[in-house]
C-alpha cells in the first residue's frame, strides 16, 4: 500500500517517547522514517518492560511500539565522519525531527541555523520539554516535571492529599500527537512554497493546552481551581463492581430513571433524586441504593446493559479488557505484527477508519538494521563503509544476535 506520506523522507534524531511517537505516526502513514541512533541505540531501547524481565534493547515494550515502521541507522555524531554522513542524509530528507536539549545539535554544527542555507526546504521539527527559548528552556525535565509545571498535576487527585500525576506518559504522548499535526501542517504549506522552517514543539505547552476550562476560571473569575478527586457527585465517576471498577455516568437528568431500571431498583426512581443538584446533596443516599447491585455485576455486563438503556457508562479498562471487547475486535484495532526477537504481538494501530485505509502496521527495526542499505543508497560502497566503520562513525557493527525460530 502507498500511504499518503509515501515519498516523504523523515530523518528522526529524536529519543525517548514524544519525538519517536510523532515519527511512529509519520511512518504508519507511509513516510520513510530513518531513525538515526547513537552507539548503543536510543536510550528508550533500554527501558522495560521486557519479556520475562530480561533486558534486551531489541525487545522493550516502548521501543517496539514507538519505533514501528522505521529504519534504523547508527551514527556517532561525536565523530566528524558521523556528522558528515548525517549531512548527506539531510540532503535526501524532507523533514528532520529531533528532541535534544536546545542548542545541543548547534554545538555539533547541526542546528537549524547551520542547515537552513544549504537545505532551504528542510522542515526541522524540535520536540523538547520547554521549547527552544524562554527561562525554562534549559531545565532538566522528566514526565512529572512538565506535568507539574503544565498545571495538570495540581488539579488531579484529592484536595487534602498531594497532587497526582496520571500514570504513564500522557504528557509525552500528547506532545508527540501535537507534533504530528504541526509537522503535517508544515509539510502542507512547504509543498506549495518550497520553503522549509523550524517548528518548535514544547511538551509543557502541549500539557498547558489541555487544562479544559480551569485556566479560564482564573482569567475570568479569579478562581484557583481545586483538586476534586473522584468527584462530589453521585453517579458521575468510578464505582466498584464485581470484577473491577465501572464508570457510572448518569448523563442528563432525563436519563435518571434509566438508572433505576438498569439496577432494577425502584427506590432509585425517587423524585428527590431527579431534582437538579440532588446528585451532590444526596450523594450518600444514592450510593447506598446503587452499590449492592454494582458489586454483584461484572464491568463489561454493566457497561453493555447501561448503554442499551442510553446511559453513557464506561468502565476502568486494562489491556486484558481491550482484548475481550467485541467492538475493538470488530474494528480490527489491534494489528498482529511479527518481530524477529520479540515474536508476534497485537499492536494498537490508528484510531480511525479511513475510506482508503492508509495506515500500515510494521515492526520496529533492530539497532542499525538498515545502516548498510542506507549508506549504500548514499553512494558509500563497501570500502567506504569499512572506512567509516573503522573511524567509529557508525557506532560499531550493527547488532548481530540470534533471532527466534519461526520468525518471518
Amino acid at each position: 500500500m502507498q500511504g499518503p506520506l509515501a515519498g516523504t523522507r523523515v530523518l528522526d534524531l529524536s529519543q525517548y517517547i514524544a519525538g519517536p511517537y510523532c515519527t511512529r505516526l509519520l511512518a504508519g502513514f507511509g513516510a520513510d522514517v530513518i531513525k538515526v541512533e547513537p552507539p548503543g541505540g536510543d536510550p528508550i531501547r533500554h527501558w522495560g518492560p521486557f519479556k520475562d524481565g530480561e533486558t534486551d534493547p531489541e525487545a522493550g515494550a516502548f521501543h517496539l511500539y514507538l519505533d514501528q515502521g522505521k529504519r534504523s541507522v547508527t551514527l556517532d555524531l561525536d565523530t566528524a565522519d558521523g556528522r558528515a554522513v548525517l549531512r548527506e542524509l539531510v540532503a535526501t530528507a524532507d523533514v528532520l525531527v529531533e528532541s535534544f536539549r536546545p542548542g545541543a545539535l548547534a554545538e555539533l554544527g547541526l542546528g537549524y541555523d547551520d542547515l537552513k542555507e544549504e537545505f532551504p526546504s528542510l522542515l526541522y521539527v524540535s520536540i523538547t520539554p520547554f521549547g527552544q527559548n524562554g527561562p525554562y528552556a534549559e531545565f532538566a525535565a522528566t514526565e512529572i516535571t512538565t506535568y507539574a509545571l503544565g498545571g495538570l498535576m495540581y488539579i488531579t487527585g484529592e484536595s487534602d492529599r498531594e497532587p497526582l500525576k496520571n500514570g504513564g506518559y500522557l504528557g509525552q504522548y500528547g506532545a508527540g500527537q501535537h507534533a504530528y499535526v504541526a509537522t503535517l501542517a508544515a509539510i502542507w504549506e512547504s509543498a506549495v512554497s518550497g520553503e522549509g522552517q523550524h517548528v518548535d514543539v514544547s511538551v509543557h505547552e502541549s500539557i498547558t493546552s489541555l487544562l479544559e476550562m480551569t485556566d479560564m476560571n482564573y482569567i475570568y473569575g479569579g478562581e484557583v481551581f481545586p483538586r476534586t478527586g473522584n468527584g462530589a457527585r453521585a453517579a458521575w465517576g468510578i464505582y466498584p463492581c464485581a470484577d473491577g471498577f465501572v464508570g457510572v455516568v448518569s448523563g442528563p437528568l432525563r436519563r435518571w430513571v434509566n438508572i433505576a431500571e438498569l439496577m432494577d431498583n425502584p427506590n432509585l426512581a425517587d423524585e428527590r433524586f431527579q431534582r437538579p443538584g440532588a446528585q451532590s446533596e444526596l450523594r450518600d443516599e444514592i450510593d447506598v441504593e446503587m452499590l449492592p447491585w454494582l458489586i454483584t455485576h461484572d464491568k463489561e455486563e454493566i457497561y453493555q446493559k447501561a448503554q442499551a438503556l442510553g446511559l453513557p457508562f464506561g468502565y476502568v479498562s486494562t489491556p486484558a479488557d481491550f482484548f475481550r471487547n467485541e467492538q475493538l475486535a470488530y474494528r480490527g484495532f489491534f494489528h498482529e505484527v511479527d518481530h524477529p526477537v520479540a515474536g508476534t504481538m497485537r499492536y494498537p494501530s490508528m484510531a480511525a477508519h479511513f475510506t482508503d485505509g492508509l495506515w500500515e502496521s510494521q515492526r520496529a527495526p533492530l539497532l542499525g538494521e538498515q545502516t548498510n542499505e542506507v549508506l549504500e543508497s548514499l553512494g558509500h560502497d563497501e570500502a567506504s563503509r569499512k572506512r567509516l566503520s573503522a573511524a567509529g562513525a557508525l557506532g560499531g557493527a550493527p547488532t548481530r544476535r540470534p533471532t527466534r525460530g519461526g520468525a518471518k
Binding site: G134, T142, W188
Partner: protein
C-alpha cells in the same frame, strides 16, 4: 474541486499560518471536536462553526444559568447574554467564525449545503449516526462536494456492536486505559483525571488525521470519510502497556507519583497553602546532584545505584520532604534546577497563567470579545519560524458571523439575507430565552 485554493473564502485580519488555504465546516461541540478545530484554526484554517438557537454548544452553559455554571463567566458575571460569556466556550472557540442557524429548516439546510460545497473538511461529533439521520451523511455531502474530508468522532466508532453508544470524556478515559494506571499508591480505587482527558486526546488525533486526509487528497484527488474512535485514540497513549500485558501477563497498576524506572519520583510539600514541587531522578548524575543540594551525601553513599534507590523510596522521600518543607516552591525548583535536578512546581491555574516562561514565549495572547471584553487566552501550541499561527480573534458570540459568512463567503445579497432571516432559520437568541421572554410578555 481544485486543491488549496481556499475557494474564495476571504481571510480575516491577522489570520495566518500554514493552513490559511483550508476551510473547515465545524458542527462539533463540547471539547473533543472543538479542540481539533482550535488546533487547525490557530494554524490559519478558516473554521466556520455551526450552532442553532435550539442547540447551543453545551459549554456555553445553559442559556438560563444554573447555580453552579459549567465554567466562570467573564468578570464572574453572566450578564444579559451568559451564553456568550462562558470561559470554557470562549477559550476553545477563538479564531472561529460563528454561525447560528437551524439546519433542519429548508433555508438552513440550503445554506449549509452551499457551505459544504466550499469546504475542505466537515467535522461532527454528534452521537453515533445522529448527524446522518439529520440528513447530512457522507453520501449526501459528497453529492455537492465529491472530495470532502468528512470526519465523524463517536466514542467507539461508527459501525459494529457499539456504534450507537454514548460517552463523555470521563468514561472514555476509563475505557481507553488511562484510569487503570492512575491513583494514589496503596489506594483501593483508581483516580479520575483532573480533566475529561478523552476529549482532547480524540481532538488532537483528529486534527492529525484531517491533515493526513488533506495530503492524501492532494496526491490522489480523493476525499475521505474518517471514522474516529475516541476509545482507540486513548488506547494509543498507553500503547506500551498493551505490549507489556502480552509480554508479561501483567495488567497495569496505579503507583501514585512513583515511577517504574525512576527513584525518587514524587510530589513534596513546600511552604504556603497547598504548595508542592514534583521531581523525578532519571540518572545517577542527577541523583548525586539531588543529594548534594539537599545536604544528604550519606544517601548517595548508601544508595549509589538505581537498584539501591528503588529499594528505599520512603527513606529518600522523607529526606526530600524535610528539605522542601521550609522552602518556597519556586525557590526550591530554581535551586534544584540550578544543580541539574528535574524539579518543577505543581502549578495551579493562577501560577500557570502567570508563569514567566509561558509569558516569555508569548503563550497568553489577548483578544477582545464582543461581550466578554478584553481577556487573555491560552495560545498556539507550537511555534513556526516562517509561517507562525496566531490567536487573532476572540470566540464568536452566538451567531456573530452568520451574516458575514452569508455575504463574504457565499456572496448573498441583502435581499437574500433578509429572506433567510424572515424564515426564522437564523434566529440567534436561544430558544429557552425566547420562551422566557414570551412568558414575561404574556404575564405583563
Amino acid at each position: 474541486m481544485s486543491d488549496s485554493t481556499n475557494n474564495g473564502v476571504p481571510l480575516r485580519p491577522g489570520q495566518q499560518g500554514p493552513l490559511k488555504d483550508v476551510v473547515v465546516l465545524d458542527c462539533s461541540m463540547v471539547w473533543a471536536g472543538p479542540y481539533c478545530t482550535k488546533l487547525l484554526g490557530d494554524l490559519g484554517a478558516t473554521i466556520i462553526k455551526i450552532e442553532a438557537n435550539r442547540q447551543l454548544d453545551s459549554v456555553r452553559g445553559t442559556p438560563i444559568p444554573p447555580a453552579i455554571p459549567i465554567s466562570k463567566y467573564a468578570n464572574d458575571d453572566p450578564g444579559e447574554d451568559p451564553w456568550n460569556r462562558a470561559g470554557y466556550f470562549n477559550k476553545y472557540n477563538r479564531n472561529k467564525l460563528g454561525m447560528c442557524m437551524n439546519i433542519l429548516m429548508p433555508e438552513g439546510r440550503e445554506i449549509f449545503m452551499e457551505l459544504a460545497a466550499k469546504a475542505d473538511v466537515i467535522i461532527e461529533n454528534f452521537g453515533g449516526g445522529v448527524f446522518e439521520r439529520m440528513g447530512f451523511g457522507y453520501d449526501v455531502i459528497r453529492e455537492v462536494n465529491d472530495d470532502i474530508i468528512f470526519v465523524s468522532m463517536p466514542p467507539s466508532g461508527n459501525g459494529g456492536p457499539e456504534a450507537r453508544y454514548v460517552g463523555y470524556g470521563v468514561a472514555i478515559e476509563q475505557l481507553g486505559g488511562i484510569v487503570a494506571r492512575t491513583g494514589y499508591l496503596g489506594d483501593d480505587v483508581p483516580m479520575k483525571s483532573g480533566i475529561n482527558y478523552g476529549d482532547p486526546i480524540a481532538g488532537i488525533h483528529t486534527a492529525g488525521y484531517i491533515m493526513t486526509g488533506l495530503l492524501h487528497r492532494r496526491k490522489t484527488g480523493r476525499g475521505q470519510y474518517i471514522d474516529l474512535s475516541q476509545r482507540e485514540a486513548t488506547i494509543n497513549w498507553v500503547g506500551e502497556s498493551v505490549l507489556e500485558y502480552q509480554m508479561t501477563g501483567n495488567d497495569p497498576k496505579w503507583i501514585g507519583n512513583r515511577d517504574e524506572y525512576m527513584t525518587p519520583s514524587g510530589a513534596y510539600r513546600c511552604t504556603g497553602e497547598d504548595s508542592w514541587i514534583a521531581l523525578a531522578v532519571a540518572t545517577d548524575e542527577e541523583w548525586g546532584a539531588l543529594c548534594a543540594t539537599i545536604g544528604r551525601p550519606d544517601l548517595l553513599e548508601a544508595y549509589p545505584t538505581y537498584d539501591a534507590r528503588a529499594q528505599h523510596p520512603d527513606e529518600i522521600d522523607a529526606a526530600i520532604t524535610a528539605w522542601c518543607a521550609p522552602r518556597d516552591a519556586d525557590e526550591a525548583m530554581m535551586t534544584l534546577q540550578a544543580a541539574g535536578v528535574a524539579a518543577g512546581v505543581c502549578a495551579n491555574n493562577r501560577r500557570v497563567v502567570n508563569d514567566p516562561h509561558l509569558a516569555a514565549r508569548g503563550f497568553w495572547p489577548e483578544v477582545e470579545h464582543i461581550s466578554a471584553g478584553k481577556h487573555i487566552v491560552a495560545g498556539v501550541a507550537w511555534q513556526y519560524s516562517r509561517t507562525p499561527g496566531a490567536v487573532y480573534a476572540a470566540a464568536p458570540a452566538l451567531g456573530q458571523h452568520t451574516e458575514w459568512v452569508l455575504r463574504e463567503v457565499l456572496g448573498k445579497s441583502d435581499a437574500e439575507i433578509e429572506r433567510y432571516r424572515a424564515s426564522g432559520a437564523l434566529e440567534n437568541v436561544p430558544e429557552e430565552v425566547l420562551k422566557q421572554r414570551q412568558q414575561k410578555a404574556a404575564g405583563a
